[in-house]
């Protein structure tokens, strides 16, 4: 039987705070009194309405942990985008924003589902994975988590300081970066696209039956998910989500 579910209604929220994560990426912290809660990894729909009634909708991953009091989305500015430049450049604290959600029941993780977790992100693909990391940290979940995060350059690492701090403070959380285009002087981390050697060095052995979440541009997701299967990971425990119109190179 098909369960009857109530329609996800559009709700008005208020921008509480804007956080500049990188030159191209902003987090929008929202007061959403009607929010019914979400699971880490889910997304929501944003709808913008012009004065003449013209509307545009887009989906954004939720960056905040379910236990946090406010809903946060983290948005990368696409230069030729219709919606993201409005969200990153035009919105001020106090402005209203319409949204509905949460959406998506596959690319989600609850600490009770266990692990160990392998999280692999490219660029703004970190956002839904950050919700999982924040949830683990907030609940002091003992589930071991490893994050492998590919960015083009050091300045483009989203949530860099928070990830550094969590990796130092939270038990059973390991964070490793790779920078594919440019590296700061003295960089000791990886400096190439994610490949099999990197995955084998950093990730879990197949025997540990990791639960894997991969999010980023299509070429990265295709490549990493295929490598995971070649390494013996169970395909049904490799969950993917793709970002960007056609996928850039990260």
């Amino acid at each position: 039987m098909v369960a009857i579910r109530p329609r996800l209604a559009w709700q008005r929220t208020t921008v509480r705070e804007l956080i500049e994560e990188t030159p191209r990426v902003r987090s929008l912290v929202l007061d959403a009194p009607g929010w019914q809660g979400h699971s880490a990894g889910q997304h929501l729909d944003v709808r913008l309405t012009a004065e003449d009634g013209y509307q545009a909708e887009r989906s954004y991953s939720i960056a905040s942990a379910p236990v946090e009091p406010h809903v946060t989305i983290t948005v990368e500015r696409l230069d030729d985008g219709e919606v993201s430049p409005y969200l990153t450049d035009e919105l001020h604290p106090g402005d209203e924003l319409e949204l509905r959600g949460p959406i998506g029941g596959w690319f989600t993780w609850r600490p009770t589902e266990g692990g160990p977790l392998l999280l692999v992100a490219g660029g703004s693909g970190i956002v839904p994975l950050m919700a999982m990391i924040r949830q683990k940290a907030a609940l002091r979940s003992p589930v071991p988590v490893r994050l492998l995060y590919s960015s083009r350059a050091y300045e483009e690492i989203i949530f860099r300081e928070e990830l550094d701090r969590l990796a130092a403070e939270v038990g059973e959380l390991t964070v490793e970066h790779t920078l594919t285009r440019s590296q700061p002087e003295g960089w000791s981390g990886y400096n190439r696209r994610i490949d099999r050697a990197m995955l084998e060095e950093f990730t879990w052995a197949a025997e540990e039956r990791p639960l894997t979440f991969v999010c980023g541009p299509t070429p990265l997701v295709e490549s990493v998910a295929t490598l995971c299967v070649e390494m013996g990971y169970a395909p049904e425990r490799v969950k993917t989500e793709r970002f960007g119109p056609t996928g850039g190179a990260v």
Partner: protein, 203 residues
């Protein structure tokens, strides 16, 4: 809501009237071909590929890849609409109509569940895949369908949101009763008409 909502300072980008008419509510045009899948891309060699029709049927049907290629083919040009909001106009595919595959089938079924390599499923009313509305396609824009887009073959049901056009499809199960598929069990709409914006459960 009392007063109509306006996003302060939002201008938006209007499409030309011709394109705008072909865009369902909440959709925007893309030129590329985004890839969306829930897991790793399965890779089935063509000599192990087959397409089957099972379930509520007088006699199960099965075609190997070579047998499938001998069936009458059609070239289809349609607009496609993904639930994640992108639409793409005038996409061209080549494959076999489900009318051809179901031609001599005797069934009391009202529903089908399409099933794919990798475990993906999606459900549809039988009347939505007959009468020139659905195909099994294996070419896109004149070339073999790429694995990340569902090759070797995918279902094409362009009048519904594109998650109904199952990638890596391997067969249909004919059912007397409706049975939700993968996304339909995970919060997405059971039917998925883009013109009614039936994205999620309850829409």
């Amino acid at each position: 809501m009392s007063d109509p909502f306006v996003s302060r300072g939002f201008q938006g980008r209007r499409q030309r009237a011709e394109a705008a008419q072909r865009l369902p509510p909440g959709q925007y045009l893309v030129e590329g071909f985004p890839v969306l899948s829930a897991g790793p891309t399965p890779r089935t060699p063509l000599d192990r590929w087959d397409f089957t029709i099972v379930g509520e049927i007088d006699q199960p049907r099965r075609w190997t890849w070579d047998e499938f290629q001998q069936l009458p083919h059609e070239t289809i040009t349609k607009d496609i609409h993904c639930v994640t909001k992108w639409s793409k106009l005038d996409t061209t595919w080549r494959g076999v109509s489900l009318d051809t595959l179901l031609k001599d089938v005797t069934t009391s079924a009202d529903y089908v569940l399409a099933f794919s390599d990798g475990g993906y499923t999606t459900n549809l009313p039988l009347e939505d895949v007959t009468g020139g509305k659905a195909w099994i396609v294996h070419e896109y824009e004149g070339a073999p369908l790429a694995p990340e887009h569902g090759g070797p073959a995918r279902l094409l049901v362009p009048h519904l949101y594109f998650w109904k056009s199952a990638k890596w499809v391997r067969g249909l199960r004919l059912l007397a009763h409706d049975e939700p598929g993968f996304w339909e069990s995970l919060g997405y709409n059971n039917y998925g008409d883009p013109w009614k914006e039936q994205r999620y459960a309850g829409d």
